[in-house]
């Protein structure tokens, strides 16, 4: 490496816009959320906290932070969080999406990619079809899935002669509503995974397959012994990113049920997710951001833990 003059000041100029924006909109939020999670009864009322305080007759022992007031420092937010039934429902729903729909999507995507890779005719056409959902608008397609499963006018109910069976309308059970959300997540998630798997498959050396052919290896064995091990880095990458994405599931639920709703009429919290719970804290009057921040810290902790576990587990079976 040729040694040239250090470019400290040039780098400072080049990085300044990016770093400045990140300090305000990325680094500060991380610190702030962490602090807020540990402030008891933190109320941030849009520069009106003084009026709010006099109205609410709060304890005199408060202090200010970011224009909001709090009564003390502790883990009260986390206690509130885990005592809230809605949060526990949110944990359950998010866990279902993460641990059921992600593995199913990954397996289906892998099968589609392998199938696509093995055919010759119409391959380009099918590839385009499978890539289609990649750029779609979550809200728009949520409405479409809503209409597909509409209680009276939906395609599914008309087709299978089950008009009156409520999937996402009032009276829907958790299982049925979750099934629609599950289908939508699979539909929405396939494209990205297929694209990544296909590009991975195209990089596998053809010689492995030729060797297997000479030995007359059965297809499923070729799949489990050659394709899957050689694709394992891609599979790991996809599972980690999909898990992270699935923990943040929110827009698709909103898309299916409508603004501020996580379930059918009469049971708005049926499919609430962790992110939905956190955002809901905005709408509560007085805005207890502390509980919301505690919720997002819990989410961050879970994501970090799962990712670390995956990284550890991957050491056993990922072939680089």
């Amino acid at each position: 490496m040729l040694e040239y003059k250090r470019d400290g000041w040039k780098a400072a100029i080049c990085l300044a816009p990016s770093l400045l924006l990140m300090c305000i909109f990325t680094f500060w939020p991380i610190i702030n959320s962490f602090i807020m999670a540990f402030l008891n009864n933190y109320y941030f009322a849009l520069n009106r906290s003084d009026i709010y305080n006099s109205l609410m007759d709060v304890d005199k022992s408060f202090a200010y932070f970011m224009g909001g007031r709090f009564t003390g420092i502790g883990i009260q937010n986390f206690i509130t969080l885990f005592r809230d039934k809605d949060f526990l429902i949110a944990l359950k729903n998010t866990a279902f999406i993460v641990f059921v729909s992600v593995p199913v999507t990954v397996i289906i995507a892998l099968l589609i990619a392998v199938a696509l890779n093995s055919i010759k005719g119409l391959r380009g056409f099918f590839q385009t079809v499978f890539f289609l959902p990649y750029v779609t608008n979550t809200i728009a397609l949520g409405l479409v899935f809503n209409s597909l499963f509409h209680v009276d006018y939906g395609l599914i109910n008309k087709l299978f002669n089950m008009v009156g069976t409520s999937w996402i309308n009032s009276g829907a059970t958790w299982g049925r509503a979750m099934f629609v959300l599950f289908l939508y997540s699979v539909w929405d998630g396939l494209a990205f995974k297929i694209i990544v798997f296909l590009s991975g498959l195209q990089n596998i050396d053809k010689q492995y397959y030729q060797a297997a052919q000479i030995d007359a290896t059965p297809r499923w064995r070729v799949f489990t012994r050659i394709t899957v091990p050689l694709l394992s880095p891609m599979i790991l990458y996809i599972t980690i990113t999909s898990f992270m994405g699935a923990f943040k599931v929110y827009s698709s639920v909103i898309g299916i049920f409508g603004t501020g709703r996580y379930g059918p009429v009469g049971n708005y919290k049926l499919l609430i997710t962790i992110v939905g719970y956190v955002y809901d804290q905005f709408d509560v009057s007085g805005m207890p951001f502390g509980v919301g921040s505690a919720g997002s810290m819990v989410l961050f902790g879970i994501i970090l833990l799962i990712t670390l576990i995956q990284m550890q587990a991957s050491k056993r079976w990922v072939h680089y």
Partner: protein, 320 residues
């Protein structure tokens, strides 16, 4: 030919049948999954052209019997209905699509310009300049990609409402500012560009140095033209990102001002509770017409820039 000599003709026939069956099942699987992907799109487009009578009829129709193009003009004009007391009310409020498209394009344009400028400068610093702490700063930036988005949303909402008057502002430009500023840099695009910049041979840089070219001129005259494909990908993905943005806009835009809405929010606000309306008042066809209006531009972009979009995918996703 040589090989055929050693093969038992019976075995050869069995082998042919076997591969034939395998191919049949492969195609059957692909076609089935392709149908799963395509049906929601077709249902959306076809149902958006059905009359309300056809929507609410018990018969199963997929393809519209009569093309009701008026559905699309009703999106702009709204529907008036008369309730049981003889009073006129708005069964469907007109949706400000012209504003939704215009706002999204304006916000997308400025977000994209800002993102491209800041990420090019940062990627240049990380790939070409030599300064202390380069790897450390880069690692810290990458690490923030793991943190769930709602951590940022809560604090950014607080920061903007405390120090600016942009949140839910009645002023059009202030609303734009709130939508644009937090998003004019991106860690992922910086990373993506840095990888591209690193592939440009160092010899070019050294040759330019010998000729006395300044770093800035080298960036503009050599690196940017050589990375055109990557920059195009970033521009397209960033525009699509704004088109699909829902969460942040839903917090900072006041939906009372319908001319401030972006597409996803407009869709949500306009169709709130739509699926619960039944009988002749059902607006399922309008709901799907609105979804089509939002989806079709995306599909056009997808087909025109497929190559560029897929380039970005193999690195990471835009959804999340």
């Amino acid at each position: 030919m040589e090989r055929a000599l050693y093969l038992d003709p019976n075995e050869l026939r069995r082998f042919k049948i076997k591969t034939g069956i395998a191919r049949f099942f492969t195609y059957a699987f692909i076609i089935l999954m392709a149908a799963f992907i395509v049906v929601p799109f077709l249902w959306m487009i076809f149902s958006s052209l059905k009359t309300t009578n056809e929507i609410i009829s018990r018969e199963v129709t997929f393809f519209p019997r009569k093309f009701e193009w008026a559905n699309y003009s009703k999106l702009f004009t709204g529907i008036k209905a008369i309730d049981q007391y003889g009073n006129e009310y708005e069964a469907f409020k007109p949706m400000p699509f012209h504003w939704m498209f215009f706002n999204t394009i304006v916000v997308g344009f400025f977000t994209t310009i800002g993102t491209v400028v800041t990420t090019i400068l940062a990627a240049f610093a990380f790939s070409r300049l030599n300064f202390k702490g380069r790897e450390l700063i880069f690692t810290i930036m990458l690490a923030t990609m793991m943190i769930p988005g709602e951590v940022f949303v809560i604090t950014n909402y607080m920061t903007l409402s405390r120090y600016t008057g942009w949140i839910k502002s009645a002023n059009h430009l202030e609303n734009y500012a709130a939508l644009i500023f937090p998003f004019i840099t991106s860690v992922f695009y910086t990373f993506f560009l840095r990888q591209t910049f690193k592939q440009i041979p160092n010899e070019l840089y050294l040759a330019a140095k010998v000729d006395g070219t300044s770093d800035f001129k080298y960036l503009v005259k050599v690196m940017i033209p050589l990375s055109q494909a990557t920059i195009t990908t970033i521009i397209i993905l960033s525009m699509i990102g704004t088109w699909n943005a829902y969460i942040w806009p839903s917090f900072v835009t006041n939906s009372i001002y319908t001319n401030h809405l972006l597409v996803s929010n407009g869709l949500m606000v306009g169709l709130r509770g739509a699926s619960e309306t039944t009988g002749p008042n059902s607006i399922l066809n309008l709901q799907l017409a609105a979804s089509t209006m939002v989806t079709v531009p995306l599909l056009i972009i997808f087909f025109s820039f497929k190559k560029y979009i897929l380039r970005g995918v193999s690195r990471s996703g835009i959804k999340g």
